[in-house]
Amino acid sequence: MTQTLTPAREPGSAPGAGERRKEGGPRDSAPAVVLENLGKRFGAGPAVLENVSATVAQGEFVALLGASGCGKSTLLNIIAGLDVPTSGALEVPSDGAAFMFQDSSLFPWLSAAGNVELALKLRGVGRAERTVRARELLELVNLGHAADKRPHELSGGMRQRVALARSLAQDRAVLLMDEPFAALDAITRELLHNELERVWRETGRTIIFVTHNVREAVRLGQRVLLLSSRPGTVVAEWDVSDEHRTNAGAAGELTAGITARLREEIRRHA
């Protein structure tokens, strides 16, 4: 399957610096998610997604970038099975995917711990273990002290962290994250980057995450996909090598390259 992967490209868009660098590693294993020429249109409106093709290998960590309103959340929804594409086909694990939504989407009638526990309960975790595990997860996101608070008593960033804990409480092979750190301060964000990376390495989950922070994409992703706007298509992709991870200069260069490409995409529509 990996062989057939040819990201759709707008004709005439030259590949930017660092693009299409292929690598070995996790991507050689069986694909976890395969998208083939996906198209999506709401009602009779214009196409939101068109010809989106991509393959995500098992255990891969993919970052999804794109202008505001380009269709990233829509794509994640389709992958999660919450929405159906208007055209095209997709392959996803039959047990679905864990999903951290863009808005935290906590249940207002449950406390922070209750929200996390519900995820564990619906997964079949026993009562005693649930309490312990939920507490651990909340500690992980630095919210041990707010376990008993209701969502309306939490700040925006705290709610987002509870949602993160909840999505980690699910043990699905695929984890979709929609701007998971948008409402967090730089330092908390950095801490959680490390935690997320640790969880990823330990559990070998496949993670697709959306972010507007190009540095975050380069920091976490093994691969970065760029979605164009109206309609959304994968117009470019970059592999993030180990060099980018260790060498700040290389990372900065890649970040600059991606940002430039993003700017170009947006300019096309302005």
Partner: protein, 298 residues
């Protein structure tokens, strides 16, 4: 482990072909087409359910557990209804009741909405009169009959008064409970935008509470209609028109189950028609406009 839940990849063909096919699929999926299909099932399914009930009824009658004059079969009732129709009694009763129901309900809404808004916005009034409204809501219609007769004699005003006392507290309570469920953030936004108390009620509270309010209106309609039936039993003919309530009571007084069942069927039918033709479309539109329709079974 990976499976293909949706395998609708169009098979081959040029890009142009593909695009037209896609457009075709899209237009099939677009809103108006779907809406029409749904509407048919909205009519057919209740009819099917009704049919099943009628068959069950016929079956019960066929069992012969009860004497036929006590539990008439569907055909007997149809005959009875046909007779009432020929005489014009049925039409007259439906027309009188429906007219009263619509007028009375409209007035109830017009009276109850401002009161409900006021109570839901002003804490002191809410505390003082809220329990009273709930109390009035549980008063049976018949409690109002003596007072209504004293004040309005045997005129249509009496019927309307009994209806109002049934419908108004219910609508007020429905609106209040709708308002209570508004996320407080909406009011905060309203304040920030500089809304006066009146503007807040009109531009924020009322639209935000609308879905709950319409649910309350549905209950209010049920209260009005039932109160109307109760009011129509006070007296028959003369200065008071002959409505469905009168028909039902007449059947009961004569121990004529055919007439009783006919009246029940007609009332049921009117209720279902009002639900299907008035409330269902309004609710659907409201929910659709707010994006609450996805996943709902409406």
């Amino acid at each position: 482990m990976p499976e293909t839940p949706t395998a609708t990849l169009p098979a081959g063909g040029s890009a142009e072909d593909l695009r037209t096919l896609e457009a075709g699929l899209d237009s099939l999926q677009s809103e108006p087409a779907r809406r029409r299909r749904l509407d048919l099932s909205r009519i057919l399914l209740p009819l099917a359910a009704l049919l099943v009930l009628v068959l069950a009824w016929q079956f019960y009658v066929t069992l012969g557990l009860r004497r036929r004059d006590q539990v008439p079969g569907p055909l007997d009732v149809l005959g009875s209804l046909g007779l009432l129709w020929q005489e014009g009694t049925a039409q007259e009763a439906i027309w009188t009741s429906l007219q009263r129901g619509v007028v009375g309900f409209a007035i109830s809404i017009a009276v109850a909405t401002p009161i409900g808004l006021l109570l839901s916005q002003v804490r002191v009034l809410r505390r003082a009169f809220g329990p009273l409204v709930s109390g009035l809501q549980v008063l049976p219609s018949v409690a109002w009959v003596p007072a209504a007769i004293i004040w309005f004699g045997l005129s249509d005003a009496t019927v309307y008064f009994v209806m109002f006392m049934g419908a108004i507290p219910s609508i007020i309570n429905g609106l209040i409970s709708g308002v209570d469920q508004i996320p407080p953030q909406y009011r905060r936004v309203g304040r920030i935008l500089g809304a006066s108390r009146w503007e807040m009620a009109l531009h924020v509270v009322l639209p935000a509470a609308l879905p709950g309010y319409v649910g309350g209106l549905k209950q209010g309609w049920a209260f009005s209609w039932r109160s109307l039936m109760a009011a129509e039993i006070i007296a028959m003919g003369g200065t008071l028109g002959f409505g469905l309530g009168s028909l039902l009571e007449q059947g009961r007084q004569l121990a004529d189950m055919g007439v009783v069942m006919s009246a029940i069927l007609v009332i049921l039918f009117v209720g279902i028609a009002v639900e299907l033709l008035v409330f269902a479309p309004v609710e659907k539109r409201l929910l659709r406009g707010r994006g609450l329709l996805a996943g709902s079974t409406r």
